[in-house]
Symmetry: C2
Subunit: 255 residues, 2 copies
C-alpha cells in the first residue's frame, strides 16, 4: 500500500476561478498528474513538471481507468470535472472503474465537491431552486429515452422545479423538443422557464421566458434549463433580468 498514490476527483465549478473552492485549487497544486476532458484541463493553472492527460468527452470510463493505473504507480492524480464531480460528472465514472477492479478498492480516493451549473444558473435567476426540485440529464447516451420520459412525467406529477442537464445532443437534436412537448402537456403554459448558458464565463447568456413561449432551439451543450413548479413566479426588475422565485411557502402550508 505504501507505494500507491491517490486519486483526487476535483470539481472546478462552473468556470471562473472565484467559484472554485480552495480545496480544489490546492488539489490542482498538489497533483502530479491531471486527467480530464481537454477543455477542463485548459482551465487549470500550468505547473512545471505536472503531467496532463487530456481526452475527448465520450471516454469517461477510460479516463477513470487511466487515473487508477497512474495512482497505482504512485502518482497523485487529479481527475478534473467542470461543476461538481458528483453531479453528472466524473465521480460516477471513477467509482464505477474502482468497482470493476478489485485491486483498486483500497486506493485512497477523495471526491472534492464544487458548485454545479444549476447553482450558478440559480444564482443569476434569484431563487428558482428555492423549493423541492428534480435534476435530470436529458442525455440518452447511457439510458433509454423512455426512462427520461418517465422521470419528466414523475417530476411534473410531483410538481417539482426541474433542472435539465445536457439538453442538447448533436446525435439527437430533437430530444429537447420532445421534452418540452411533453412538459407542455403536463404543466401550465405560464410556468417560468430559464435557459442559462455558460454562466460565469465570458459567453454567458440568460433567457427567462415561460413554458408556452419557450423556444428550445436555443439550447446547446453549455445550457442549463430550469422549469418552474406551479408555485414559481417571475419578478420583474427595472433594467435587469427578472428573477424567478420558487417560494418556500406552498399553498396549504402554515403561514
Amino acid at each position: 500500500m505504501s507505494a500507491t498514490g491517490e486519486i483526487l476527483v476535483v470539481g472546478l465549478g462552473p468556470g471562473p476561478d472565484h467559484w472554485r473552492t480552495p480545496e480544489a485549487s490546492a488539489a490542482l497544486e498538489r497533483a502530479t498528474d491531471l486527467v480530464g476532458y481537454a477543455p477542463y484541463l485548459a482551465r487549470c493553472p500550468e505547473r512545471p513538471g505536472q503531467r496532463r492527460h487530456g481526452s475527448d468527452n465520450r471516454v469517461e470510463l477510460d479516463r477513470a481507468r487511466l487515473a487508477i493505473a497512474l495512482a497505482r504507480a504512485g502518482r497523485v492524480v487529479a481527475v478534473v470535472s467542470g461543476g461538481d464531480p458528483g453531479v453528472f460528472a466524473m465521480a460516477a465514472a471513477v467509482v464505477e472503474a474502482i468497482e470493476g477492479d478489485e485491486s483498486a478498492h483500497a486506493l485512497p480516493v477523495t471526491v472534492m465537491p464544487g458548485v454545479s451549473a444549476m447553482q450558478a444558473a440559480a444564482a443569476r435567476l434569484g431563487a428558482p431552486l428555492g423549493h423541492d426540485f428534480c435534476v435530470i440529464s436529458l442525455s440518452d447516451n447511457l439510458k433509454p429515452w423512455s426512462l427520461v420520459e418517465k422521470r419528466l412525467r414523475a417530476a411534473a406529477d410531483g410538481d417539482f422545479v426541474i433542472a435539465l442537464y445536457n439538453p442538447a445532443s448533436k446525435a439527437r437534436p430533437s430530444r429537447i423538443f420532445d421534452a418540452f412537448a411533453l412538459l407542455g402537456r403536463l404543466k401550465a403554459g405560464s410556468t417560468p422557464v430559464a435557459f442559462a448558458r455558460a454562466v460565469g464565463r465570458p459567453d454567458e447568456k440568460i433567457v427567462v421566458t415561460t413554458l408556452a413561449a419557450a423556444d428550445p432551439s436555443i439550447v446547446d451543450m453549455a445550457t442549463l434549463v430550469i422549469i418552474g413548479s406551479s408555485a414559481s413566479r417571475l419578478i420583474e426588475r427595472p433594467g435587469q433580468a427578472p428573477f424567478i422565485l420558487s417560494p418556500r411557502q406552498a399553498a396549504g402550508g402554515a403561514p
Copy 2:
C-alpha cells in the same frame, strides 16, 4: 439610486473554509453588514467596523427585510447562508422580500452560490448523486405534509435518487419515520441509504445502510439523507466506508 447600497446573498458552503468559494470570502470582506442565523455568522471572520445582525433560525423573511432596509440606507449587506443560498436557504427569502416591496425592485442583488450539504455528503459517499435525483425538504413548516408525501411518491415513481433536507423537526419528530415508512412501501429494501451528518465539520458522522435496515431515529437537523434509485449499489472498500454508486448507465441504455 446612487445612494443605495447592495445585497450580497452569500453561500458559506457546508462548514470548512476550504469549501467556501473565493467569491463568498471576498463578499464577507467587502460587506459593511452581515445578516444571518447566528451560527452561520459565527463562521465568518471578524472584521473591525463590520456590523453583525444575528437572528434566530425561524425568521428568514424578517432577516431579508432587514437586509433591504440596510441596503437602502447605503450599506453593503451580506446575507449569509450555510451551504448554497439557492437550496432551501436565504435566496428565496430575499427574493420574496424584494417581491413584496416595490421600492426594493431596483436594488442591486447578487446571489453567490456555494457547495450545498448534499454535495458534501455525496463527495464522502463516492457517487450517490451520479444520476438523476430529487431534492426534497421534509420540513412542513411552510408546506402541508400531503405535498411532501406527493413528492416522495413521485420521486419513487420516477426511480430518482432522493436527497432529503431538514429531516428532523423538534415540533414534529415523527416526519422522518413517516417518510421512511412510505418509501419502504414503494422501494426495494436493498436500496442503499446514507445518513450524512455535519459533513466537513468536526462532528461529521456518516452511516451507510439499506432502506430495510435504516434507523431514521439517528437524524437531526444537521443530517442530510440520501436514498438510492433502483440502480444504486454499494461498493465495499477494505478499511473504509463503502461507496454508493448511482451509475451513469441505466438498464436499456446503449453501452
